[in-house]
């Protein structure tokens, strides 16, 4: 049982970003997958967050430092898709 608050956050992220992934795929297929449009970055962000949550949950079972690195990196690059998606939306409108 995961009593840690971080584990709870990861489970919450999984619960939010897995449906969001489905919606993002639908939105991207409707608007276009091109990088200039910006919608693909919501998709990338969903994938990144899901991976990050899985890595964080995996640190409970194995203490390898590579996993910790992965968690940190995935957290750090969370800002870039937001900015790039905004840029894409602005270039369209």
């Amino acid at each position: 049982m995961k009593f840690s608050a971080r584990g709870g956050i990861s489970i919450l992220e999984l619960g939010v970003y897995l449906p969001a992934l489905v919606i993002a795929v639908i939105v991207c297929s409707r608007h276009g997958f091109g990088r200039a449009f910006g919608w693909i970055y919501t998709l990338i962000l969903c994938v990144v967050r899901i991976l990050g949550a899985c890595c964080q949950l995996a640190t409970y079972s194995s203490q390898s430092s590579g996993l910790l690195e992965a968690t940190i990196i995935l957290d750090t690059i969370g800002l870039a898709p937001l900015l790039l998606a905004t840029l894409g939306l602005l270039s369209r409108s």
Partner: protein, 205 residues
Amino acid sequence: MYSVDSINETSSTMFKSIHFRLLQLLITLGLILSIVGGTSSISSTGVYTVQTTSEAGAVLYLVAYLALCLVTAFTVLSVSSVRYGDNRIVWAVVIAMPLILIRLIYTLLTVFHHDHLFNIVSGSVTVLVLMDVLEEILVVAIYLFIGWKTEAAPKTARGPIESRPWKGQLAGAAGPGGPQRHRQGPIHTLLQAGIEAAHGSRDGV
């Protein structure tokens, strides 16, 4: 026509395609620096320290964010010349910008301020949730909602900024022909655009 393209038609052409490509480059650089900083931040003994490259990446994010604010402000001011359906997109971006700002502040704090509260690994969880996870979820939700509700852009109505090629040919995305069709990297394209802008021979693509 989409708004910055249509604004460029109706008022002075303030934003050329090159500005957008510069911004893309800036954000991508920030991303690369952050990744590099993140990979090297765990020392061999397992201690987590923030690297200079992470700090540089965070600063680049900040600069890019400020530039995005400028573009947003400009778009909002000219909101009357936007194509009807895209009004919602502009307002969605306006709502999302403060949330992205909070996320940005969180990243800057974790990178620059060495306090036990704002550490990625061992910091306070409440802070993490309130500033970081929540904002991302909100922004993603807003953008996906807007994407769901808005119709796709018809291919014939795209202006030069929206149909800008991501990488390579400056001559635009449609059809064969045009003076330079061989693929070039973005840096090369930017340099060429700069040279041509200096010669004043192009009107901005």
